[in-house]
Symmetry: C2
């Protein structure tokens, strides 16, 4: 008789965004006249940039011709893409990352979920609180999180790094030493950014304790301030303690295209084993690469035209973020984020819980946001809004919120 993986049963409720989708779907069925504005899930709304579309059409034509057809991709991804990433995302920033340390994949969600597989289940993880749920849930599924404690809404074997107003949502070093440290900056959900000096403290700490940092830089393209690093490898010594995850979803609007990459420097060795070789084995055994045409799309993101068009999209979303940030400040909300990230993190008014505020906004303003508590107990009493809507909708959403009070 087969036994199921009991760890799955420990997970309380559904994956956050599936839960929101369900609630919204129920609301829509009973409120057919309402026009919802969605500033919840971090999905983009602008179409794919023309330079990318052109490159994809070209690649599709190749796939339709005998001499241009591409079958299975090379294990790490196509060189044309890995080379341009190494050049533009790393060498141009004085980060010593080579093309053969880059693994192309279908996105940062898969990568951040799968990366834990190369580590022992005995490791103790540390996560920010609040946090992107995938880091925790995938460790729960693997049996690395211990037991869920209902009272505290925390896992017994997870080290939580509180991100609060009083530390500007930047975590401090923990008392108990973790083995695996998940950091995401610019941060989802709080929209906060970490300075190079602050991040250097974590890199030094990991090198000293032998921990590994899994650094999710999915929102790097939204950085506007000088002192904020675009990659953890801008910090000295990060090559020997950090894995970096990157996504094309948010910089180039690839949420429906699916492309990302993982960087594992060859110098990153633990227990005498290069983590690069473990991930290469995992990648080669369980995955067959991102589609050729999508890898060509990724390449086009780095062309002159591509970069120019994508910068405009990011500016568009950041204008939205600013509309929300300033608009909510004016109504008297306590808000942060929105300067180096497309996310606005707000304190719910009137002592409402996060889900109460979710329901309130849905009912009163027909605006969908994301309850902070969905990102962990430290997010309770907070709420996330995103700049990924259209400008018109964003302006209207702020107006509607204003009118709801």
């Amino acid at each position: 008789m087969v036994k199921i993986n009991d760890n799955f049963l420990k997970l309380p409720g559904n994956y956050l965004f599936s839960e929101i989708a369900k609630k919204v779907s129920i609301f829509e069925k009973s409120h057919k006249e309402s026009r919802l504005i969605r500033l919840g899930i971090g999905d983009v709304t602008l179409p794919i940039a023309p330079a990318v579309i052109e490159a994809v059409h070209k690649a599709v034509d190749e796939m339709g011709r005998k001499e241009g057809f591409h079958g299975y991709a090379p294990d790490l991804g196509y060189e044309f893409l890995r080379n341009v990433i190494a050049e533009k995302d790393y060498k141009a920033r004085n980060c010593q990352i080579n093309a053969d340390e880059i693994f192309i994949s279908d996105g940062a969600k898969s990568n951040s979920g799968n990366i834990q597989e190369i580590f022992s289940i005995e490791n103790k993880i540390a996560v920010c609180d609040p946090v992107y749920p995938v880091y925790v849930d995938t460790n729960v599924m693997a049996g690395r999180a211990g037991i869920y404690q209902k009272e505290t809404e925390r896992w017994s074997d997870v080290i939580y790094l509180p991100c609060r107003e009083d530390n500007h949502f930047i975590p401090e070093l923990p008392k108990e030493a973790p083995d695996l440290i998940y950091l995401c900056f610019p941060n989802n959900p709080t929209g906060s950014a970490i300075t190079k000096n602050e991040l250097q403290i974590w890199v030094n700490y990991a090198n000293k304790t032998g921990a590994v940092i899994i650094y999710d830089a999915a929102y790097e393209a939204y950085i506007t301030e000088e002192e904020i690093p675009h990659s953890i490898y801008e910090c000295e010594g990060a090559q020997t303690c950090a894995i970096e995850l990157k996504s094309f979803s948010k910089n180039a609007g690839f949420t429906g295209m699916r492309l990302g990459y993982t960087v594992i420097p060859k110098e990153l060795v633990r227990g005498g084993v290069a983590l690069h070789s473990l991930w290469a084995r995992r990648h080669g055994t369980k995955y067959n690469g991102a589609p050729y045409i999508i890898q060509r799309a990724g390449e086009a993101v780095y062309t002159e035209k591509g970069e120019e068009q994508i910068k405009k999209q990011i500016a568009y979303y950041m204008r939205n973020a600013n509309v929300i940030l300033e608009g909510l400040k004016n109504i008297g909300f306590k808000v942060s984020g929105g300067v180096n990230a497309p996310y606005i993190w707000l304190k719910t008014p009137d002592q409402m819980t996060s889900w109460q505020f979710f329901d309130f906004l849905l009912e009163k303003a027909n605006v969908v946001g994301t309850p902070g508590s969905g990102f962990g107990p430290g997010g309770e009493g907070y709420f996330r809004l995103t700049g990924f809507g259209t400008y018109e909708n964003t302006v209207e959403a702020v107006e509607r919120i204003k009118r709801s009070f």
Copy 2:
């Protein structure tokens, strides 16, 4: 100090196809004048069908326009694709599979590697010997295979189901009852097919013992004989014991496009839990769907034009398979497969080991094949060739092999 997943270190050598790629690359560098013919890795060579190319172009244009843009896909995949799969692959064959029991993904390799995650690591797996290496390797990584025994080249905790000439490469029920049974028919690597009656024995067995069958039907489109089932759900009672994995790689040439699906009937319950709900949770937490344009490509495979064009491609590959089968028979080889599958399975001549024959063919005929021993100890002394080359190359490869003796 972080600890790595030691299970990875138990894996002997590289993933089979990565190993072959390396050997071939070294050979090519020192034999620049040679023109290799690759009948090794199961990669296709014909371009994507025109009906599919047309659909992808259309979808790419949609992605470039505001009103047609698609972001994150629904968790299970787009309904337009799941509906047509349920209709054409199942209902048309009297299999009671609904669209909401189908999960769209990026291919059968990922699915066959990931599906083990929803089961306890205490389960005992059974695999055919020889077998597609992904089933075993991914269970090793999870810690479910025990210890590798060099003398027998077998894992201590894996139940092997010998597939030999004397059972026509169809496994018999094992003495020790497994919990998870991996079956792949039409088979990779042996090219053998299982009849509905033979498969029914396994379904009955799994229902009786509480085991779950993971049925890889990636080569279903190559079936030519009447009594061979296209889906395990053609057998009575399979809904309560079987998960089916399907791929677009081999029927529609999607090896570089990446699309597949997993079927988990809602009736499939173990320990009081529907496996569908576990996989849904895994899918929603660790994966963000196949690209919109690729799902549209999959939809086009089922159009009248698509089906017609794809049938011709399969006929083309099967003609190749026949060329190899008959050609090698004529030289005096012992061969099987090639009738319901694109694979030819041959006994190596002159007592050569599989890798000796690999080197022999590479050196003497400049033909790349796959050593049978790469698929497990039961494959030693065998060799796999595929019908996925061009017709011209296939004819020439057989000629070259003839001349090598």
